[in-house]
Symmetry: C2
Subunit: 160 residues, 2 copies
């Protein structure tokens, strides 16, 4: 691999790590207490299993990001980096998709199911969750770029 792409990959890996850690932190700090017709409403990220999963997946991805930077660059170590990179990409995809699906219901509701939107009542909480989702999406994008670049350039061109 040329020197410039390797530097780009390193920058993308660091960006991905920063975005994943930020996503986990922003989601962990997402909470709001408000009142609606004198009824106290408390919104916390752990009220939704999808948001808890989002936090856990991004925390795992953040910690994992150290592994490719420390793993040996040739032989089996390098293979494991690519395999684990794909697994982490799928984990981040699942996290963003699940949290995104629930956020969409939180924002727009679902009239057919009788689920009302909640973002009118807990807008600060919704903005916080949206921030976490954006960080998670940026991290996923950087990580996916690294994975696809690695596979497309380093796959054995003579494979059967």
């Amino acid at each position: 691999m040329a020197k410039t792409p390797r530097a780009c990959i390193l920058v993308l890996r660091l960006l991905s790590m920063a975005a994943a850690v930020s996503a986990a932190v922003v989601m962990a700090t997402s909470h709001q207490t408000t009142s609606f017709f004198n009824i106290a409403i408390k919104a916390e990220f752990y009220h939704s299993p999808s948001f808890t999963f989002f936090l856990a997946a991004n925390a795992v991805a953040g910690v994992y990001s150290l592994f490719p930077l420390l793993a040996p660059r040739a032989g089996l170590g390098s293979r494991w980096v690519v395999v684990l990179d794909v697994v982490v990409a799928m984990l981040l995809t699942a996290a963003v998709a699940a949290a995104g699906a629930i956020s969409e219901v939180g924002k727009k509701g679902n009239e057919h199911a009788g689920w009302l939107p909640i973002c009118g009542q807990v807008s600060k909480y919704c903005h916080h969750v949206m921030g976490a989702l954006i960080c998670g999406f940026v991290g996923l994008l950087c990580h996916t770029t690294v994975v696809l670049h690695t596979i497309s350039t380093e796959l054995d061109p003579l494979l059967p």
Copy 2:
């Protein structure tokens, strides 16, 4: 690659295609009309964007599955198969995660958000969606096994 693993990969690819097509068909046929206290309730998969996305993603994966079976086995064609395999794996992951997150709310509700479970009223619909999710998950599992096996065995062991 030895003869037996190649046959296994072919079987897994065919299984993955069958599961993805089944998931799309089962989701597309998920609907139920019932009444609750004389109020007509109609449940259709397209009432939820996540279920529509699930159907589309599995249909795309089903059609794509033909590509690796027809693509040339050496050189650039083979590289593209691996890159697209990873993209499709992420697409299927997103579909299963998003549809799974909404199904979980449909089944258990979310008392904090005031979203009531709907599966008590439209149980046939919920079972249908669950069937689609199981098919989608099996397809994702088969496809992921193929992707990880290909990467772990066919990545250039001398890559820098």
